[in-house]
Amino acid sequence: MLLVDRVTAVEVGAWITAIKAVTASEPCYREMAEGLPLKRYAYPISLQLESLGQAAALLWLGSGVGQRVGDGEVLLFAAARDCRFTGRAYPGDVLRHEVRLQKVTGGGAVAEGETWVEDRRIAVVGSLVAAIRPASVLSDLRTGPATAGQEK
C-alpha cells in the first residue's frame, strides 16, 4: 500500500515534500456506480491521510542513525490530532504533502503538515504520531507498553 510517488524535496531531519498523483484507475474508484457527479470522485480522506503519514515516515526514517525499522518491527500510525480537510483532490490532481518533524523519540516520531493540490491547501494535520512496534505485538491482544495504560 505505497501511497507516495516521489519525494521532491527534503531537509534531512526537518521537513519533506512528497507527492502522490490521484488517477482514475485507482482501486478506490473501481466499485462506483455509473453516472455519478464528479464530486463523488473526491479522493478518500483515509487514503489522503495515509499518504501524508507515509511522507512523515519517510522523513523520520531518513533522519539519521537509529531511525530504522528493524527485522521483526513495523511502523504504525498511532495517533493524530487537529486535522482539517477543507478541500478535496480528484483524479488528475497531484497531492503535495509538506511535512515537518516536531519530535523524535526512541520509539517513534511526531510530525505536522499540510496537503496541497497546486496552490489549494486541502488539508492541515496538527499532529501525527507514528510508532515502531515489535511485529510480535500484532499477534497479541494489546499494543506494547508505551500505549497500554494511557487512559483518556
Binding site: 462506483m32 480522506i45 491521510l49
Partner: protein, 145 residues
C-alpha cells in the same frame, strides 16, 4: 451475492452492516466489519503480517456515518456530507484478518457540521481506536463542476 455499487469513492468496503437508532443528541450507530485477508491493500501491509490499516478504521467510521445520514436525512443528489475534520484519533490495538471490528458512535449536529464520537472494539472486546471526527458539506468542488 455482489454488493451494490458505491455512490462515493472508497478504498474498500469498510462496513458490513450498520444499525442506526435515535439518540438524545442525534443518532447512535453500531457498525460491524469482518476483517478478511482479501481486503484490498492488506497484502502489502505488512508482508507476511497483515494488519488492517488504522486509516481504514477511520474509513469504517466514515462509511458508517454516510450510511446512517443517508438513511435519516434527505440529501440533494451530489451533496453528500463527508469527513472534514479529525479532532482526535488514537489507534490502540491491531486488527487482523478474522477479527470483527465494531464501531459504536454518537452522531450529532454541531453548528453546520456533524460531530461523531466513535469507540471501536475488536471481537475479543479490546478497544482498537477512539475517533472524534467532523463531517460537513464540501463547498469547494472540482473546478468547472
Amino acid at each position: 451475492m455482489t454488493p451494490p455499487p458505491l455512490s462515493y469513492a472508497a478504498p474498500l468496503r469498510a462496513v458490513d452492516r450498520v444499525e442506526v437508532t435515535p439518540d438524545p443528541v442525534g443518532l447512535r450507530l453500531v457498525a460491524h466489519k469482518r476483517i478478511v485477508a482479501t481486503d484490498p491493500y492488506l497484502q502489502g501491509h505488512f508482508p507476511g503480517r497483515p494488519v488492517f490499516p488504522g486509516v481504514f478504521v477511520v474509513e469504517a467510521v466514515r462509511q458508517a456515518v454516510l450510511t446512517a445520514l443517508a438513511s435519516c436525512d434527505g440529501f440533494d443528489d451530489g451533496a453528500l456530507p463527508d469527513l472534514c475534520g479529525l479532532r482526535s484519533v488514537r489507534f490502540l490495538a491491531a486488527l487482523r484478518p478474522g477479527d470483527e471490528l465494531t464501531v459504536e458512535a454518537t452522531v450529532s449536529r454541531l453548528l453546520d457540521e456533524v460531530e461523531v464520537v466513535a469507540r471501536c472494539r475488536r471481537s475479543d472486546g479490546v478497544e482498537v481506536a477512539r475517533i472524534t471526527a467532523a463531517f460537513g458539506y464540501d463547498r469547494s468542488g472540482p473546478s468547472g463542476a
